[in-house]
């Protein structure tokens, strides 16, 4: 093994991995280049666009801006881990489809991960909460209305189901 490499252990989408990596590798590079999980997108590389958002221990983070070394021992969920093993989409994924909340789709994985983490922490957000929480995820083609509608639809359906 390359002597400059270090071994980290982590769980990605429920699967345990032990990977030897160079310390300078970002979490984004680990997911895409080492584990082949290319659903997480690389775009700005400076923490500004949110396309690379993944969930680390239930919190959304920009994977371009943290080192893979920093997630040693942690549990990661990328967009590939949202659907169940039998291929059933998550309620947010379904809602994004229903509301056509994407056009080119490049930013969609990041938006899905941010909104998934948000609903995990805040099950009943207001529109204002959603707008604020999604500020870090940029979209350059669809706009932001459909995303908001898709997320609020999931919130509404959850409320209905809880009655």
């Amino acid at each position: 093994m390359d002597s400059t490499k270090k071994v980290i252990k982590l769980k990605v989408n429920g699967e345990a991995y032990e990977v030897a990596i160079k310390p300078r590798m970002t979490l984004l590079q680990l997911l895409r280049n080492e584990l082949g999980l290319t659903g997480t997108k690389q775009a700005c590389m400076d923490n500004s666009c949110g396309a690379c958002t993944v969930i680390v221990d239930k919190m959304a983070v920009k994977s371009c801006s943290i080192l893979a070394m920093q997630v040693n021992g942690k549990e990661i969920t990328s967009v590939e881990g949202l659907a169940s093993k039998d291929g059933k989409l998550s309620p947010l994924q379904e809602s994004f489809l229903e509301h056509s909340a994407f056009q080119c789709g490049f930013c969609t994985p990041g938006k899905l991960m941010s909104s998934t983490a948000m609903l995990e922490e805040m099950p009943d957000p207001t529109e204002e909460d959603v707008r604020r929480d999604m500020e870090g995820n940029l979209c350059r083609c669809t706009g932001y209305v459909q995303y908001l509608e898709a997320i609020m639809d999931v919130v509404g359906k959850r409320k209905e189901a809880a009655k």
């Binding site: 310390p23 970002t26 590079q29 590389m45 500004s48 959304a60 801006s65 080192l67 604020r132 500020e135």
Partner: protein
């Protein structure tokens, strides 16, 4: 054909149009950002490493500030010291020792945890207010707070505008660990000491002394950035006399103008000992803005003046409480 021509086009485009950040996946770029990565077990060990590598080492906790700079080739450390490996750097606790009471915050505590901390919201609400109004210039999502730590925040270029003014009006103290031992200093001294070379100390915790229960108004206001500049943050501490008429004490700290927060002397000087009055508030805001902004352009002075005036009015309202007259 496509396989052959594509890399050539990419190469040309990369050299001419793309920003360095876009080279993140290319081996040539990756090789240029080599560094040794170390995970110390204690602050003392981290200080020893810092002393060994000197300015060639950089410290990270959340890494939200430095990692993008490394990606873009704007920072090229030989050694990266990750403080997250040090146990017991993430805490928010009350303390009571040597007759002094207050809150202590570990430097590795994330802004996310601080913003949601019941202790902070109850006993140092102005800090929670500053955190919740904080905007990363490039990443406005509050998810950024999950990685960003209060320690890292105080040593980032935007530190002056955000957390520091609130900590300063709370009279917070910084406790730094060096190779020889601990050192406690004011927040103002923390920024000055940082610019003096040759001292390899690391911020361990921040101590906020217990605040007075009543008659005190603490407020934080923040304005958006002007042009390429940092956004401006203003924190105000104000104590009225028991009749809620005269200003007994006022402190105004402004961040975002220059590298470190500036505490106004002239604004408080004209308010202290005088009854609250609309003209007095406006005059104090004028003087404080002129004083802290110095030779800044008129737009920045006006924005600062507005923020100071608003923060003073909020602080008055809060110190009067239920009797607020809408100052």
């Amino acid at each position: 054909m496509g396989n052959v021509s594509c890399p050539i086009r990419l190469q040309t485009k990369t050299e001419v149009y793309m920003r360095p950040g876009y080279l993140g996946d290319l081996e040539s770029f990756i090789d240029s950002s080599k560094f040794e990565y170390l995970e110390p077990n204690s602050l003392q060990e981290a200080c020893s490493i810092l002393a060994r590598y000197k300015e060639k080492a950089r410290v990270i906790a959340g890494g939200t500030e430095l990692i993008p700079l490394i990606q873009q080739g704007k920072a090229r450390p030989d050694c990266l010291i990750n403080l997250k490996s040090i146990p017991n750097l993430q805490f928010v606790e009350t303390y009571s020792d040597f007759g002094e009471e207050g809150i202590k915050i570990g430097s590795g505590t994330t802004l996310f945890d601080l913003g949601r901390s019941a202790i902070i919201n109850e006993k140092a609400a102005v800090l929670a207010e500053a955190i919740n109004q904080r905007e990363f210039r490039l990443n406005r999502s509050r998810w950024a707070y999950y990685m960003a730590t209060i320690g890292g925040c105080l040593f980032s270029p935007e530190r002056a505008a955000d957390i520091a003014p609130a900590l300063m009006v709370l009279n917070a103290k910084a406790v730094r660990q060096g190779i020889q031992g601990w050192e406690t200093m004011s927040m103002q001294d923390l920024f000055t000491a940082d610019s003096e070379g040759g001292v390899y100390e690391i911020l361990g915790e921040i101590r906020i002394p217990k605040q007075q229960e009543s008659e005190v108004g603490l407020a934080y206001e923040k304005g958006p950035a002007t042009g390429d500049g940092s956004s401006i943050g203003v924190a105000v501490f104000l104590r009225l006399d028991l009749k809620h008429v005269d200003v007994e004490e006022i402190r105004i700290v402004v961040g975002g103008i220059g590298n470190a927060p500036i505490e106004s002397r002239e604004g408080p000087a004209i308010m202290t000992g005088n009854p609250i009055d609309d003209h007095l508030i406006i005059d104090a805001a004028d003087m404080a803005a002129e004083e802290v902004c110095g030779a800044s352009d008129a737009e920045i002075i006006e924005k600062t003046r507005e923020l100071i005036e608003e923060a003073i009015r909020h602080a008055i309202d809060r110190s009067i409480g239920d009797f607020a007259l809408g100052y």
